[in-house]
């Protein structure tokens, strides 16, 4: 049998681990933890747990560690993140995207020379969570800050972590030109189709018909245009670049996305090129959906608009979209 350990005090009660456990071994406690969340607990038959790590993979809050049948720890929290609890809402997938980014840096042994650039938006406090040297940039300017940082210290692994308002709207120019110059940086672009921090306004990536506080009747594409497909846009540039889109809405997609992020950092480590990884994510609070409903919404509504896959690779000369 496998074994999981749940850090009750880290749990925000999003319940994503409950939904992904293939054996249904996790459930909500009837108690509240210190932060006031209904935390989860392992209450199934221990013999049933295979130590598959799905629960830990789906946890946005570094709250679960896993051991397999042989007693070997198969899911260890990364040292690339600090132990600080994030301020993200329950079920928000920022926490998972932070984690896979940090895991990639750790697995490639790049943490000692990694420098991150946090944006303005929900992930403005990313500098508190990544356990590395960090900048906090002005709204949208992270790719310019990263350009200066990488040019100054090419030996460092420099990445930006930006949301859709920051990167596509106010920072549209900075990202376009950093990509076109082929700055040897990595950009993690988290797209949840809405402004989270300011309370749910329309983003450049808001879907047609999607309701937000500034398009309360649903986004009218006649008036506000269609959502911008940033990965596709950047993939039209000639400068060699690694451009891909993944998703964070379930463990399978998250692990695929991790592979993309790892490739991106490898490209930077090898001095190859600018790399851009768009990651579809959720905003349960401002979408008005429960965490698992939000994940389903990504699958059903976002992926058709923002197809997943590698759009451009250094060795492939032309852009190619794959579903």
């Amino acid at each position: 049998m496998g074994e999981i350990q749940i850090a009750e005090e880290r749990c925000k009660g999003c319940g994503l681990c409950i939904d992904v456990c293939p054996r249904g071994l996790i459930s909500f406690s009837e108690d509240l933890n210190e932060k006031g969340y209904t935390y989860v607990r392992f209450d199934g038959d221990p013999a049933q747990c295979t130590g598959c790590t799905m629960c830990a993979t789906a946890c946005p809050d570094q709250g679960i560690e896993v051991w397999n049948k042989a007693g070997k720890q198969t899911f260890v929290n990364t040292t690339g993140l600090t132990e600080r609890m994030t301020h993200y809402c329950p079920g928000c997938t920022h926490g998972m995207i932070h984690r896979i980014t940090a895991e990639c840096l750790e697995e490639l042994d790049l943490l000692p020379r990694a420098v991150g650039v946090a944006p303005v938006g929900c992930s403005v406090l990313a500098y508190e969570y990544f356990n590395i040297d960090m900048f906090e940039a002005a709204h949208g300017r992270a790719p310019a800050v990263a350009t200066g940082a990488k040019r100054a210290r090419p030996e460092c692994i420099v990445f930006t972590y930006q949301g859709d308002g920051d990167l596509v709207s106010i920072g549209g120019n900075e990202i376009l030109h950093a990509a076109n110059r082929g700055e040897k940086i990595t950009v993690i672009f988290v797209n949840n189709a809405i402004y989270g921090m300011t309370g749910g306004q329309m983003a450049p990536t808001t879907l047609a018909g999607q309701r937000t506080t500034t398009c309360p009747d649903g986004r009218d594409v006649e008036e506000t245009g269609h959502p911008i497909r940033m990965a596709e846009l950047l993939a039209t540039l000639q400068t060699p670049a690694f451009v891909a889109r993944g998703s964070s809405h379930d463990p399978k997609h998250l692990l695929k996305t991790k592979k993309l992020i790892k490739q991106a950092f490898q490209h930077q480590r090898d001095g190859t090129c600018f790399s851009f990884i768009e990651v579809l994510s959720t905003c349960p609070t401002n979408w008005g959906l429960a965490p698992q409903e939000s994940c389903d919404w990504v699958q059903d509504h976002m992926i058709p608009q923002f197809p997943l896959g590698i759009l451009k690779e250094p060795e492939r000369a032309t852009a190619e979209v794959s579903g």
């Binding site: 020379r113 420098v115 500098y127 040297d133 002005a138 300017r141 200066g148 100054a152 460092c156 120019n173």
Partner: protein, 357 residues
């Protein structure tokens, strides 16, 4: 080293290289474009970094990135471009990063014109962007002084971990004069520090940040910055006083190119027996209030102060602050790229002296 004949903008670029700055990020704009044009070639020779940014917004943020990594870096621009840098300047000052910004002022407002002006005095000395921050502002009146002040700007920006601006006007950038540079390779490297980011080698992680969500923390941060600005004001004011040898009845106050024109005019009227002196602030921020007040108090009788600017009266506010109502302040200014001739200034002085004598 012997003197070489160089255009102001190119001399500024060379001065930066001699100061050990090998990272430049900028965007073309008249009348400063020769700075990047010079540096793209020069930095290649010394193994430096040159990036033509997509905008001044990006330039200043690239400077923030490089400065945060602990390297000597700079950008240059002219008035409308400096407006676009306002946001970045606020962040860099808030994060306490050293860098040098060159402003070859042109005439505004709006797109204005490309000829020399001094109408960005408010912008330079009162903060370009939001928040309680200040930038060290140095105003050269010759190409040689532009070279010297560029060297000083790097020193002061690193000493105080604050942006320093060389605030000249298009005339300084565009004219050629003989200049002498510091020895190449003589600049001291950036010293080891405890704030810059980079490969960590086991040390604690560091953060370059200007976000303080706790009002008390942000209050403390502002008090710390204010204490630094007070220290700069106490230690770094610089000025030149000219023509005071045998006393004076009128004090002209001017900076940069305008001060240089005033000097010629003062020579002219002094030859006629008029007793006129010049006070030239070299640091526009910190402003030499004390020295200016002393110079005002040394005017014989109740003679006036004549503030002359290539603007509609911006430094005038500081001149009045220095006077604290103790003396009559007259003003003469031009705008739009109209540069007064020494004869025009002399005529203004003569007119003023008629009232005095």
């Amino acid at each position: 080293m012997s003197k070489v004949l160089m255009k102001g903008n190119e001399a500024l670029g060379e001065a930066a290289v001699r100061a050990g700055c090998v990272h430049f990020f900028g965007y073309p704009i008249t009348p400063q474009t020769e700075v990047p044009e010079y540096l793209v070639k020069r930095l290649r020779e010394v193994g430096g970094t040159f990036v033509q940014a997509e905008s001044e917004v990006a330039s200043i943020n690239m400077v923030m990135g490089a400065a945060g990594m602990g390297v000597r870096c700079m950008t240059s621009s002219s008035s409308p471009g400096i407006s676009l840098m306002a946001e970045g300047m606020s962040y860099i000052a808030a994060c306490e990063l050293p860098c040098v910004v060159i402003n070859m002022m042109r005439a505004g407002p709006g797109l204005g014109g490309i000829l020399p002006a001094q109408s960005d005095y408010f912008q330079a000395t009162r903060g370009h962007g939001h928040g309680d921050y200040q930038v060290i502002v140095l105003a050269p009146s010759s190409v040689q002084e532009a070279v010297d002040l560029t060297t000083l700007a790097f020193e002061l920006s690193e000493k105080y971990r604050n942006p320093a601006m060389v605030c000249a006007d298009g005339m300084i950038g565009q004219m050629m004069e003989p200049v002498e540079f510091p020895e190449e390779g003589a600049a001291t490297p950036m010293p080891e520090n405890d704030w810059s980011l980079g490969a960590r080698d086991g040390r604690e992680r560091r953060i370059v940040n200007s976000l303080y969500l706790s009002p008390e923390d942000l209050h403390r941060h502002n008090l710390k910055l204010k204490a630094k600005y007070d220290e700069i004001a106490a230690n770094e004011t610089r000025q030149e006083i000219y023509g005071t040898d045998d006393g004076y009845d009128v004090l002209v106050v001017a900076f940069g190119t305008m001060a240089r024109i005033c000097k010629t005019a003062i020579d002219e009227v002094r030859a006629e027996g008029l007793r006129v002196a010049l006070f030239r602030p070299i640091t526009l921020n910190p402003y030499p209030f004390g020295a200016l007040r002393d110079a005002m108090d040394a005017i014989e009788g109740d003679g006036p102060v004549l503030d002359i600017e290539m603007s509609m009266g911006q430094m005038l506010y500081d001149v009045k602050l220095a006077a604290e109502g103790s003396r009559r302040i007259e003003f003469y200014g031009t705008a739009g790229g109209v540069v007064p001739s020494p004869d025009e200034v002399a005529e203004k002085i003569r007119g003023l002296m008629q009232g005095v004598q």
